[in-house]
Subunit: 261 residues, 2 copies
Amino acid sequence: MQVSAGQVGDMTAESAPVRPLRADQARRVADILRHQIHSGAFDAGIPGEQQLATEYSASRNTVREALALLRDEGLIDRVPKVGTRVATRKYDHGLDALLGLQETLKGHGTVRNEVRAAMHIAAPPAVARRLGLEPGERVVYLERLRYAAELPLSLDLTYLAPDIGTEVLGHDLENTDIFVLLEQISGQSLGSADLALEAVPADPHTATTLDVPGGAPLLMLERLTRLEDGRPVDLEYIRMRGDRITMRGSLTRSAPEWKVL
Amino acid sequence: MQVSAGQVGDMTAESAPVRPLRADQARRVADILRHQIHSGAFDAGIPGEQQLATEYSASRNTVREALALLRDEGLIDRVPKVGTRVATRKYDHGLDALLGLQETLKGHGTVRNEVRAAMHIAAPPAVARRLGLEPGERVVYLERLRYAAELPLSLDLTYLAPDIGTEVLGHDLENTDIFVLLEQISGQSLGSADLALEAVPADPHTATTLDVPGGAPLLMLERLTRLEDGRPVDLEYIRMRGDRITMRGSLTRSAPEWKVL
């Protein structure tokens, strides 16, 4: 159906007459387009500006500005004579299915790890505390730059409990998820993990390593993983390229509190 | 205990002799310090460079560089004659307890909403589809700039199903969480929600609105919330300041899959 642009500004009796700026409207359009890009709705091409303007009850200028926002995020690009198309679709990483990266991206190309460090170090006090060790006790430290489809995806800093970590060092770290090795070596399933997620700017050196501009937004995941018996064995600091990963999950409410499924 | 810097470079027989650059070491130190800042370990002040150098088996130059990284993220600042101190502690937002912002931050100061838009609009097709409506059907659109401790925290764009949304418009949107209103108006509990989390750069207009530099990292949450009976009623696009929010949660593995607690 045709929707006139005038409807966008309609007000209810209760609300103050706020007239959205074009930049506000462009943001609104961009957010919905972003979802459609991620869900694959535009894999065959992005509709023309006029069609989008009609669908969003927006002016062509607003649509153009929304597309510019998404271009600045690296999600779409403009190809002369072809039009606007999806540049990259992000990988989905499950929030409610904590899997190794390789398992997560199964079917979406190969994960390759460039191992930048694999060694014993003395645990700094804060690391020791979280892994239930004495300060200064030796832990295994890994640093891996992870590639998907031959582009850097994340930089992972990993501290492992000494017994399991020492065995991990003997395995093929270039092609194996740590989670798989932890279960294999310990003979236990993993039990639980505490997560913290933040958006942080890429410092210059990290930016170079991940091949993004300095200050680019990174999705930073700090994760402490325990074995089934409750022992914490794996503390990771994972910097994911903001333009390549979306974390997804579902929550359900079991009154009076929300629980994640 | 004293730990000599030499131990950091120790190699196991199995691993290639990788000598970390100072920038890599600074990142490692910064990550652990970041956790301590968030957990409040440094609220009384950050230890001196020499003490940190000892704890992290790093040089003072490395520690200085790590502190510079955290300063660039806005987490700490340097006060002449006082030393380095925590500038802002981030708010924790529960991933496994999906609450309204106000409920989440209870005890950490007041949440105030600046209502920038509150009106009926014609649902763009992609929004209509997710809310189970016909394209062009009218929905209620809200735009709120949310403040905590008198600083902008997030910019929330909200699409509500028309029946409930119209009633929402009659309530005090400046001081009430939408979740609370949804339950009150529908007479149902909320049922479940689908989440997607990304790190995105702030476009210039959003940056001005949230009072951050252009391109600053934002934690972007897209969330579709359903009532207990399964009907989707609330589609939100929430841009949170990366320097003010951490999302936290726990996962547990119920073999053969991971489930979030």
